[in-house]
Symmetry: C2
Subunit: 218 residues, 2 copies
């Protein structure tokens, strides 16, 4: 059994090593956990003792298979709970992350199994992130960032990269949610800004908006 703190570190390292390749730096872990580098060092040393990750002084950390398995289970719980909160309790997609951050630490295999069945074994959470199955396998999806599209291409929104309440609320205001079709009417190569069409509305979006939205082309 892992403590709350350990679980949160493991999950953070898991997410960090998804993006960057190679070992995860202690500073990156500290920043992601909103703590100090010295604290992160202490924790990764402990987790290395427990064979949850491999750690080389001054080089960084990397989850072992064991560590990845633990992380995946937590991510699965987090995302299943988010689906529950949205689909069953009627929460809005910008309200669920903090609560799921707590719920992901409830220990009960039977609970996960039953919750999953109750929700109809969803493959994606309310932000479009894939929910790993009971064996830890993620559904692979073809998706790109809206910012990668060019003028007169279009895509269907399938998820968000950022899932802060602020960003999600912006998307709501613009009537963008998962499944929404987005046409790129224009793209400014100087700053990456775009003019897009959503439904009947046409408007300008900054690069920052465009590079946090996942779309499926095809």
């Amino acid at each position: 059994m892992y403590s709350l703190a350990e679980e949160n570190y493991i999950k953070a390292i898991f997410h960090l090593q998804q993006t960057k390749t190679g070992a995860v730096s202690t500073n990156a872990i500290a920043e992601s956990m909103d703590t100090k580098a010295s604290s992160a060092t202490d924790m990764v040393q402990k987790l290395a003792d427990k064979k949850v990750l491999s750690y080389i002084k001054y080089k960084g950390s990397k989850l072992t298979e064991k560590g990845k398995k633990i992380a995946t289970r937590i991510v699965r719980k987090h995302r299943l709970w988010e689906v529950f909160l949205v689909d069953k309790l009627g929460f809005h997609w910008d309200e669920v992350h903090e609560i799921a951050e707590q719920l992901e630490h409830i220990h009960s295999n039977e609970l996960i199994k039953r919750l999953d069945a109750f929700l109809g074994s969803p493959a994606f959470d309310p932000h479009g992130d894939p929910i790993p199955d009971e064996h830890g396998n993620f559904m692979k999806t073809e998706k790109k960032l809206l910012s990668q599209l060019n003028k007169s291409q279009y895509g269907v929104c399938v998820g968000v990269k950022e899932s802060s309440a602020e960003y999600l609320q912006y998307l709501d205001k613009k009537k963008i949610s998962i499944g929404t079709k987005i046409n790129v009417l224009g793209k400014e190569f100087f700053d990456g800004s775009m003019v897009i069409q959503v439904g009947r509305d046409q408007f300008f979006i900054s690069k920052q908006i465009a590079e946090n939205l996942y779309v499926q082309t095809n």
Copy 2:
């Protein structure tokens, strides 16, 4: 915001002062928390500083109104989650307590409100215990222990005092659940044992069984 440990102590003290009258002894708290008296002393001193309870050295502890309010909210969450686990996820009544013990510590007022609505604002948990409303009011019920009935009286099971898995599984085996009618066919005054009728079955039960089952007469 109160820590996990603080919340568990507050809830334990709340339950202890329901039965016994007057202040709750430090030893009783320690036993109920499965910890040592010295640890309980430390905690009640801290909770007294926080005005959650009044504490007099060598005399014991008593929750303040503030403390009772905190406790009631935790009990409400615990019991609502138990209803969720049984009604929605199909758990059996002897499997839910441990999980609810964790879920009761999730912090979100909105979550409690929505969960309550989702469950149809239940008044009782799966063990027949009343669920306090959002203002902390418990529904008062007329109930007595089965052991208080005499020969040829009858009652309808409305709850259990003990809710250990073992006891609940015994009741299952005997086909006793909430709503079951129980006839007292005989009572032995020497040891408090009884012969009861449940459905078409007649059998012997010990005093220990009889004094952990709540029934409603009339």
